[in-house]
């Protein structure tokens, strides 16, 4: 709060100080006042519509606002926020290639969350925003690195036309897949996180698809992603929990074993934190 007062004082003295205005937006975001953060960033974006930092803050605030709406049970408001996050993140992607991994994470997260909000009528609105994002992905992904086993490439999704089931959830998978490729040479905890996101998105789609063959293919793909993540960090209890969930249908012994490992690791991690 002291920081906010200071920044407001700065603006009194220098109303054109965009850094102070940006910092106000960022602090409001950190405080969880997402609506206020959005207002600040939107205001700034009117004057600096090509500033990736401002647009990045705006996209993150929309995403966070969406999640808060989900928690409150406000599904339509949540979906509106997620769509805004996708649209702004796409603008960032087009402005600066250095933000690609970040941008596809935001789009992936927003699409994933939006896909969890069931409702065919509502999905059309999210789909048209994601269609634009997928077109950009196809353009950027010359070597088709975002291809997913069991799902092909985003260009196939776009060619399939308007009647594709679960377009939003499929888009989430492709966004995370491309991000995973972009981060392939990063530190293990970063690549692990990317693989985990991809696996959970594939799993969510597998749960929604009515095609049994596709479901099996997607589940195998998701398990492969989690196994890749476990190679980077076998001590992460969330990964073992995720592996267990994925194996429930086809490998219940493995699922049980993985759940138990997850529980043991959770106790170990938390105990170590407390003792420190």
């Amino acid at each position: 709060m002291a920081a906010l007062k200071t920044l407001e004082k700065v603006l009194e003295l220098d109303p054109g100080n965009w850094m102070a205005r940006y910092d106000i937006g960022d602090i409001q975001y950190q405080l969880g006042n997402f609506a206020t953060a959005i207002e600040s960033f939107e205001d700034l974006a009117k004057e600096r519509d090509d500033d990736v930092g401002t647009l990045g803050g705006l996209a993150q605030a929309h995403l966070a606002q969406g999640r808060m709406m989900v928690d409150g049970g406000f599904r339509e408001r949540a979906r509106t926020s997620f769509i805004s996050a996708i649209q702004v993140a796409e603008r960032v992607l087009k402005l600066d290639r250095a933000w690609r991994a970040w941008g596809w994470k935001v789009i992936g997260d927003a699409a994933f969350e939006s896909g969890n909000l069931a409702g065919a009528i509502e999905e059309d609105t999210a789909e048209s925003s994601l269609r634009s994002a997928m077109e950009w992905l196809v353009q950027d992904d010359d070597d088709k690195r975002s291809t997913v086993d069991g799902l092909d490439h985003p260009s196939a999704l776009l060619k399939a036309g308007v009647s594709v089931d679960n377009f939003v959830s499929r888009s989430a998978v492709f966004a995370f897949s491309y991000r995973s490729y972009l981060l392939r040479d990063e530190r293990p905890n970063v690549t692990m996180s990317a693989s985990y996101d991809l696996a959970t998105a594939i799993h969510a789609l597998a749960q929604r698809t009515t095609d049994e063959k596709e479901r099996r293919g997607l589940t195998k793909s998701a398990i492969r992603s989690i196994r890749l993540a476990l190679e980077k960090d076998a001590g992460d209890e969330r990964l073992w929990n995720a592996l267990a969930v994925l194996c429930i249908e086809g490998g219940r012994q493995v699922a049980q074993h993985a759940f138990v490992i997850s529980l043991e690791l959770y106790q170990k991690v938390r105990s170590e934190v407390i003792l420190c």
Binding site: N116, Q207, R270
Partner: protein
């Protein structure tokens, strides 16, 4: 000692699928003790009550789990996150 309600609940659902009701109940109870507001653990108990033929009890538990989740509870009970 801090524990994880999500994984206990997931394990409970696995035992439910295996129709090992006693172990399922123990897992859901464990999760509820760790986090009394974790809606999916309550949902699991509701499914267990339904399977045991106690529909009235099940209905009450389902209503409680929906309230806890502010209506956001989705069809898939397994929480991979």
């Amino acid at each position: 000692m801090v524990q994880d309600p999500i994984t206990w609940t997931n394990l409970g659902y696995l035992y439910l699928r295996l129709d090992d009701r006693e172990l399922a109940n123990q897992c859901f109870l464990k999760a509820q003790v760790i986090d009394p507001d974790y809606a999916k653990a309550w949902l699991g108990q509701g499914l267990l009550a339904e399977r045991n033929g106690d529909r009235e009890h099940a209905r009450g538990i389902f209503a409680h789990s929906v309230t806890l989740s502010a209506g956001a509870l989705v069809s898939l009970p397994i929480d991979p996150y």
